[in-house]
Symmetry: C2
Subunit: 139 residues, 2 copies
Amino acid sequence: MHFSIGELSKQTGVKVPTIRYYEKEGLIDPPVRTEGNQRRYRETDRERLRFIRHSRDLGLPMPAIRDLIELSQHPDKPCHEADRIASDQLKSIRERIVHLKKLEAELARIATSCRGDHTVTQCNVLKAFGDHSQCLDNH
Amino acid sequence: MHFSIGELSKQTGVKVPTIRYYEKEGLIDPPVRTEGNQRRYRETDRERLRFIRHSRDLGLPMPAIRDLIELSQHPDKPCHEADRIASDQLKSIRERIVHLKKLEAELARIATSCRGDHTVTQCNVLKAFGDHSQCLDNH
DNA sequence: CTTGAAGCTCTAGTCGCTATAGGGATTAGA
DNA sequence: TCTAATCCCTATAGCGACTAGAGCTTCAAG
């Protein structure tokens, strides 16, 4: 029923200092304390923390998580907002994939341009890093 | 021949405070100064800065760039190291793409699970963010 | 009752910049 | 030559999301 911060950490996979950090940032409520000032948590805290953890794993920034938590406190509100946050994040991830694929293409070209059997002055890799005009794309 | 930091910034696309930051970090050499203590650069500084900029654009972390610069100061050394840095970066970018694609798949599923025409208590998006076990993959 | 693990607070560091404050230098035009 | 606009200077702090460390207290097992 009441467990320590270390126990909560084990159960959620969120590190102890991170849990305290989330509390400081207002993502989780300050729990009750023992007489000796140690935090004691309940199941609801664990659910909240799992929610945060999963959202973070999915790449959501903390303000978005804050919004989702806010939203979840108002059960009767419509959930467009949650929808929007998810699609925004999807969009942002897709953009990052597009960007990284461009970098992948350039780097693949660069990394194969020289076998490491030259000296520095002849090195195509070094040349390529110095000269964007060799690139096929405006990364 | 000798140009100001603003001019250098325009020519390379690196912002003025960033140039000063690179100098502080030792990525570019401290240039000569005017009597009034303003920096004046030459072509070689511009080449160096373009090298840094392009490497950053390709996602290289600063320590890797530092290594490449070190290397380029020794023209007769073999260039395995440059090769290795490029392939490491390629590997890291490919890993990030793999990771982001997993997130993309989960988020695509989550974002289409609810059209925003529910209330918060019924919202599949909120449920999905809270519950990793619904996921198809261990992102 | 002792001991060792786990907890506490507070501060500072990570990375690669970016912003701001409060001043001095340079330059183009009148 | 003067002035106004623009540029440049240093130094410090902030961003996001933690993480590490110091120095202390509390808890639980034996």
